[in-house]
């Protein structure tokens, strides 16, 4: 049974900074199988009407097996899941590298963990590594993010 296209997340969206420590992992989530409808829905939402992403004939003439998702679809999904973890107002930077195309039928998994914690501009900030993986194992995105976090609790 495939994952429904629209998911309900168990925890509310954090409105303030959350407590994180090095090694903490983003709650795992999945999306898919990706359909052509998902790709078109993102085109409508985000405004990318490049025919490579919805016109099968154009994509084949350009030498691709068919249409594929615009990278900003899976990047946006990853950013959404990052926001669900650290709180949308706390993200200071988000940077993605597209390593492979996402095709209809792909099932995506989102993962991330805290690499390090620093104090910058008067804020405690976490540096986070993130990936979007195809369920078959290869990454389609590698990403990094910086997020403001709650000050660590005193460990007395």
């Amino acid at each position: 049974m495939s994952t429904p296209a629209i998911s309900t997340f168990a925890t509310p969206l954090p409105s303030g900074p959350v407590v994180l420590k090095v090694g903490d992992e983003m709650p795992r989530s999945a999306f898919g199988p990706v359909s052509r409808t998902d790709i078109v829905r993102h085109a409508g939402a985000g405004g990318d009407f490049h025919p490579l992403h919805h016109d099968e004939l154009y994509a084949k003439e350009a030498g691709f097996p068919g249409v594929f998702a615009m990278g900003l679809m899976q990047a946006g999904m990853l950013g959404n899941r990052l926001a669900r973890w650290v709180g949308p107002d706390n993200i200071r930077a988000f940077s993605v590298r597209f390593t492979s195309q996402v095709w209809p039928g792909d099932e995506l998994e989102f993962a991330g963990h805290v690499e390090s914690i620093t104090e910058t501009d008067g804020e405690h900030r976490a540096t986070i590594s993130l990936t979007v993986l195809r369920r078959t194992g290869d990454p389609v995105i590698t990403a990094t993010a910086t997020a403001a976090i709650a000050p660590p609790k005193e460990s007395s």
Binding site: P12, D48, E61, G79, P88
Partner: protein, 153 residues
Amino acid sequence: MIHPSIVGMELGEVRFPIERSKLAELARAYGDDDPAWHDAAAAATAGFTTLPLPPTATILGDHWRPGGILALAEQIGADPARLLHGEASWELLAPIEPGEQLTARQRVESVKTREGKRGGTMTIVTLLTEFTNDNGTPVVRRRDALIESGVPS
């Protein structure tokens, strides 16, 4: 063929709103049905004073560029059928209030070439887009690396 002389080229300016219905569409496109992304009461229940934004929200400005991505490809002299997205990044500099208008100014920051794995020379164009609010405050700095794949010889 993308020419290195386009470095510094201004790619235009658009002014666009950050609005609730587009935020709802984005949340759906991201596979998240939490009403806190688009419903003020649900957002308030979650503890927000205004609607929260995903880090990629400024992609909504792409809708407002006349001719969209194909016009951009033409502006930078790229073959759209060989143009792929390599990287994207967002520096989130200041809060954005849903309902406000943003101005996005885009220009070519750099052009580099590299030998492609499948033959031919790839060209990597980095675009810088600076978003400011109506007070002139920079709110987001976005970079996109676009890759024009080479033609195998």
